[in-house]
């Protein structure tokens, strides 16, 4: 169709678009729609949409069909189109399945086993049991996300560790002397601030590199929480793609937990990549 058009005509009329054509549905019930539109640069874009057309047969009582024609009565007679006595909810309300108690008990047992393994010194055993649990949890989460039961967290907008929401756990030594600071000013202050908040960020901080692109905060929490309380997790996200940039910082409340995590997880295979876990270098030296 576009071929039949003379090129001179298209130049004359910028707004001219070939007409939308619809063919089908064919024997397999496939309907094809071809649309043309101009994109921002003024190029012609051809969009071909294929749709499967299916007929749904529904049985209906004859009386129901008759009742559908009933006239309005009572208050409903006065009703106008914009009265909105009936509205459809905008929000999608899910049928929320309740997780079984049994499963959580099994999980508890797993967690206990893990703790036991960690108490030992055999690195091989630790890594083995961790791997099982993490893989399972990760798969469960992805399944839930695919079903729409779990909302996938959006990566935070900020770039760089400053002001990143990071962990929801309260960090130790939080109370700043200045009191509450509006969010718009927080970043600016943090840049020049060399006080408490900076030190807190660098305290017991572990740098994790060689992460896979789709690692999320929850995954890291699962990975590191067996070693001790975590005060903050920060994953560097790429501003453009939303994928993580392959490294993250995990802060522990206690230094010994952090060193235990380093000794156990450095060189640990996660998502087919070998993790590198080390003490984070102070900012100035980076």
């Amino acid at each position: 169709m576009a071929g039949k058009m003379r090129w001179g005509d298209t130049l004359d009329d910028d707004d001219f678009l070939p007409p939308t054509t619809v063919t089908g549905p064919d024997a397999k019930g496939i309907k094809t729609m071809v649309e043309y539109k101009k994109n921002d640069k003024g190029d012609l874009v051809k969009t071909t949409t294929k749709m499967r057309v299916s007929r749904v047969e529904r049985k209906q009582y004859n009386v129901v069909k008759e009742r559908r024609q009933w006239k309005r009565f009572g208050e409903a007679v006065k009703e106008s189109a914009d009265d909105n006595y009936t509205v459809q909810a905008v929000e999608e309300i899910p049928f929320e399945r309740i997780q079984k108690q049994k499963q959580t008990q099994a999980e508890k047992k797993e967690a206990a086993d893990l703790k036991q393994a960690l108490a030992g010194t055999d690195k091989q055993a630790i890594v083995g049991s961790l791997k099982d649990m993490l893989y399972k949890k990760r798969m469960e989460r992805q399944l839930a996300a695919a079903r729409g039961q779990l909302q996938v967290e959006r990566p935070p907008e900020e770039d760089g560790p400053d002001g990143a929401p990071g962990s929801s756990l309260p960090a130790p030594g939080q109370g700043k002397p200045g009191g509450w600071v509006p969010p718009s000013l927080r970043n600016r202050q943090a840049g020049g601030d060399t006080g408490d908040s900076m030190r807190r960020r660098e305290e017991n901080s572990v740098r994790v590199t060689n992460l896979s692109e789709d690692t999320r905060e929850d995954d890291l929490r699962d990975l590191f929480s067996p070693f001790g309380n975590i005060s903050r997790i920060y994953i560097a996200y790429d501003r453009e793609t939303g994928e993580n940039r392959g490294f993250a910082f995990v802060n522990f409340v206690f230094r010994e937990d952090a060193s235990r995590a380093i000794s156990n997880l450095d060189g640990y295979g996660y998502d087919n990549l070998i993790l590198r876990v080390e003490w984070a270098q102070p900012r100035a030296e980076r």
Binding site: V63, V64, R67, F73, I93, F95, I98
Partner: protein, 326 residues
Amino acid sequence: MRPYLLKGHERPLTQLRFNREGDLLLSCAKDKSPTLWFSEDGKRVGTYMGHNGTVWTADFTLDSTRLITGSADSSARLWDTETGESLFTFQFQEPCRAVDFALGDDMAAISSDPFMAAPARIHIVRIEEDITDQDATPVRQMESDKSGRVSRVQFTDLNKTLLTASEDGCLRRWDVEVGKMIEEKQVHEKQVQDMQLSLDGTHVVTASTDRTSKLVDVQTLETLKNYNTERPANSAAISPIYDHILIGGGQEASQVTTTSSRAGRFESRFFHKIFGEEFGTVRGHFGPINAVAFHPDGRSFTTGGEDGYVRLHHFDADYFSTRFLN
């Protein structure tokens, strides 16, 4: 699911009823006009004007041509479902609490509250096909003096017996022919708010403020299953296609402001009929749920809350595809 929100009432809902085919939904609330809706898209068909007080209850005839309602204005009315015209008024001295058509629609049971010196009564009235022959005098009258309010009445056993649920937590069976009580059983500790019959008529599900809902055999009044709701249950319904029980309730309306809405448990809650475990919830209401009903085809359900909204839910495909396992 994207439920339809029906905003016909400004006061708390009291009862919801589907007709036999399930295309019509009637909502009763603590205002004067029961409202008829199309269940498919939630469009309002009309309101029945004539009552002068809270409408506690309603029932359709099997062919959906007529409707009976019971109101706190001490009357029960027969209506033409299609036109909204009030056909007949049964006038009593006491507020009417529950109504039910008998199988065949030639009789109806109406319960009246205890009021002044009068005890709670159950009136059996004959319903004439030709409305000009209709008589207001009850053919049977049964006094239920110890029970307090009779919150639900239900014809069972091919109209031979009448099952009633009441404020004292008892279920009672009455012989309709003789007008005498056959059996009573203390099923709940506190008042029974709702009682709905299963599709085959062999058992009922009750909802009570004692924070339980129970499955009770119609013949023996034996409690078959117990569903622990942790909050007062105001209404319960049995799915006509699956072994599912839908329970609506939540913290008492008077205490709602003292806690968060999460703690109030204002969701529609789904329990497995046999295993008695809660397996799903559907949230939506901002206050306790007062009335629930299953569509006769089991593919949609509706809830009415203290917040004055009726929510009409059509299940998504995953409700039918996922089975409740172990």
